[in-house]
Structures are given as C-alpha cells and as structure tokens.
C-alpha cells in the first residue's frame, strides 16, 4: 500500500468508526432524544409518575373549553389515545382545535395533564387559504401521524395514516 492509500483507508475508517459509534449511541439513547411523549405513552404508563414531561398531540376538535380568566381545558390525542389537559396561561397564536401542540407539565392524580407551558407545533404543510378550505372538507388539515412515534426513522406514509376522527 502506498502512503496515499494508507491515508485513504485511515480517513474511511475514521468516518465509518464515528458513524457506527454515533449510530450505536443514538440507538441506546433513543428515548432521551425524543422531544415529547405521546398520549399513547401516557396511557400505557411508559412515563415516570409525577415527573415533569412534555406531551405532544393534536387538540381534539370540540374539546376546547374556556374557564375563568385564562383557564382552558382540552383533550390532546395522537392516532390511538387521548389525554385531558388543563392549562392556565397565554396560548400561542397558532393554538386552535385540530392543531398540533407540545405541552410541558405533570400528570395529576386524577389523570389530567396539568400543563404549565403550551407551544404550538406547526407541521410541514404550507398552502394558500383557498386550497386549505378545499382540503379541510376532505380530510382535516393536520395529521395525527405527526405524533405517532417514528418507527426505524420512518413515519407512516400519508396513505397508511389512519384518518382522523
């Protein structure tokens, strides 16, 4: 092997080694890399009890109730499960029924998620209002698949996404 070929092998080995190390590390810490838990995780009690966590899901249409002052109650769902949420504070502009959100808080003893921060999660779809109006009649705007746990790096394709209720 010439010197140049040796260096070529060394560089290839370096890239490959770091790639494998990173892949192993991120597979091991997969759960820690997730930004939020889904309602399915919460219902399956895969979440440490009483710990402060983030919960992501769609605000279910028809569940938003405004109480006194800034109090709101609503239900957050992914494609399978739903969790009631209570929050008191300012909501982001994009917050509305059918919108994806990520709430930070704790699960109370009654199973209600007490949020102390609510952020809107926008999805990757951009369209003019006229097009959105046509779509909303057909199939809703936001998909719950956004909040299903990615499987091996893949989310369900639009075709296999369960339709929203």
């Amino acid at each position: 092997m010439t010197k140049r070929q040796q260096r070529m092998t060394a560089v290839a080995a370096l890239v490959l080694g770091i790639g494998v190390a990173a892949a192993l590390a991120f597979t091991a810490f997969r759960k820690n890399m997730m930004y939020f838990y889904t309602p399915t995780d919460l219902v399956a009690q895969a979440v440490p009890a009483g710990a402060k966590i983030r919960l992501g899901g769609l605000v279910v249409a028809g569940t938003l109730q405004r109480g006194e002052g800034l109090d709101v109650r609503f239900t957050v769902a992914d494609c399978e499960q739903s969790v009631p949420v209570r929050y008191s504070g300012i909501l982001p502009d994009l917050f509305r029924e059918g919108q994806g959100i990520v709430a930070t808080g704790r699960v109370g003893p009654d199973g209600v998620f007490m949020a102390d921060e609510v952020l809107a999660k926008h999805d990757e779809n951009y369209m003019p209002p006229e097009l959105a109006e046509k779509l909303v009649a057909a199939d809703g705007r936001h998909s719950c698949a956004e909040f299903s746990r990615p499987v091996m790096g893949r989310r369900p394709a639009i075709a296999d996404r369960p339709s929203q209720s």
């Binding site: 990173a22 930004y35 990520v102 990757e124 951009y126 003019p128 959105a132």
Partner: protein, 248 residues
C-alpha cells in the same frame, strides 16, 4: 481524469479559473435571489395559518439547506487535503468555514424569530435545533483551530480532521425530524417525494435555495482566491499578477 484533477489543483490554474467563473456565479446568484425573494415576499400567496409570517421560509430554508451542503463540501475538501496533501483543498476547507458558519447563524436566527410568534418560544432543545447549533460550533471550531496554528498547512490539516469527524452531524441534522420527534416540523421540500407546499409558494423557494447556494459558491471562490494569493505570495505567478497593477 487524473491529469485534470492535478491541473485543477495547481494554484495559478485554479486562480485564473475562479477569476473567469466567479462573476458569472455572482450574476446568476443575484438573478435567482431576486426571483426567489421578490416572488416569495411579494407574489406568493399568504399561508392559510401563518399568514405572512411564513415568508421567512424564503430565507430560513435556503440558509439551513446550504449550511449543511457547505459542511459536506468542507469535509470532502478536508478528506482530499488529508489524502492527497493538496494545497488547494486546504484553501477550500478554510475558505468554506466562515461562509458556512454565517449561513448557520442566519438559519438559527430566522428560525428563532419565526419560533416566537408561531410556536410561542424562541428556542427549545429538541433534536433539530440542538444539532444545528452543534453544526455552528463545528464551523466555529474549524475557524478557531485554523487561527491557532502559525503554519497554515499544519493548521489546515488539523481542521481537515475536525471537519471529517464532524461530518457525522450532517445526517443527524437532516434526519433529526424523522428519527426522533421534535417541535421542529418535518422537511417541506428537502425530501424525496412530493413537496408539502403549494406550487406557487414552492417555485420562489427553489429559486432562493439555488440563489443562496450560488452566492455561497461565489463567496467561497473569492475567499479561496484570497487564501491562494496570501499563501503563494512569494511565488512567481503571484508576482506576475502584480505586474499589471497600476502604479507599478
């Protein structure tokens, strides 16, 4: 093929090539950016939910996409510099870092400005935002490491290793929104399959991405030229270049 490779690596040859190509790149970048930005900021329809706030996409997405492409270019130049000991590749490596770092800063800042009104926060530590911040630190690391050496060749070699090691972060940034859940949304156009954006909004976006890429290509060519002139300042071909200067 190899003769071409070696000819391109010759500093005077590349310098003259860059001198010829840079103006064209610059003009093409201006035209595409004007098309993308005027089309995106003035003519594209507002988004159904975000209204006019979505228009930051015409700066944010190009900057973010280019920040990743430039890191890949930098790592490739680093590999060539280490394997072939090619001076030109070293110059490309050190010339790319500040341009890539600027694009990363633009992507991060525009993202934060959009995040506050849309998400409700400037910053969260999700996988996408964190890995893009790591990308900025890698760029800054390359810039700082190069400056820490007195000998530019030794400095560039160290930078090359850092650039190669850091390239593992590029797929992490790219796929962070698919491998893990995050507050940041998934890719709109930088993916296989149908873009998730209406066509009249997408066309200026593609123009803006191409324009930003060409602009960075222009900036890098000029920086490589400067780096070559500085490193080769004692050589015959640089002295010959200076003969034509006024006052000499």
């Amino acid at each position: 093929m190899w003769t071409w490779f070696h000819r391109l690596a010759s500093p005077p040859f590349f310098f003259r090539l860059a001198e010829r190509w840079a103006p064209w790149l610059g003009v093409a970048a201006l035209v595409l950016l004007a098309w993308g930005w005027i089309g995106g900021l003035v003519f594209a329809p507002p988004d159904y939910q975000q209204k006019d706030a979505f228009r930051i996409i015409y700066v944010h997405v190009p900057a973010a996409a280019v920040s990743l492409s430039l890191y890949t270019l930098m790592a490739l130049a680093g590999a060539v510099a280490v394997i072939w000991r090619m001076k030109l590749a070293e110059c490309v490596l050190v010339a790319t870092a500040p341009v890539g770092a600027s694009m990363t800063v633009v992507a991060l800042v525009t993202g934060m400005l959009w995040g506050k009104p849309m998400w409700g926060t400037y910053w969260v530590w999700d996988a996408r935002l964190t890995s893009e911040l790591v990308l900025l630190f890698l760029y800054l690391g390359v810039i700082g490491l190069y400056r820490a050496f007195d000998d530019p060749r030794a400095g560039a070699r160290a930078c090359a290793l850092l650039a190669i090691v850091g390239v593992v972060n590029v797929p992490i940034v790219k796929y962070s929104v698919e491998w893990w859940n995050s507050l940041h949304q998934g890719s709109t156009i930088m993916k296989l399959g149908k873009p998730s954006i209406a066509l009249e909004m997408a066309i200026p976006l593609y123009a803006a991405v191409a324009g930003t890429l060409l602009f960075c290509g222009y900036a890098i060519l000029r920086r490589v030229q400067n780096e070559l002139l500085w490193r080769e300042r004692g050589t015959q071909w640089v002295r010959e270049l200076r003969v034509g200067e006024p006052g000499r």
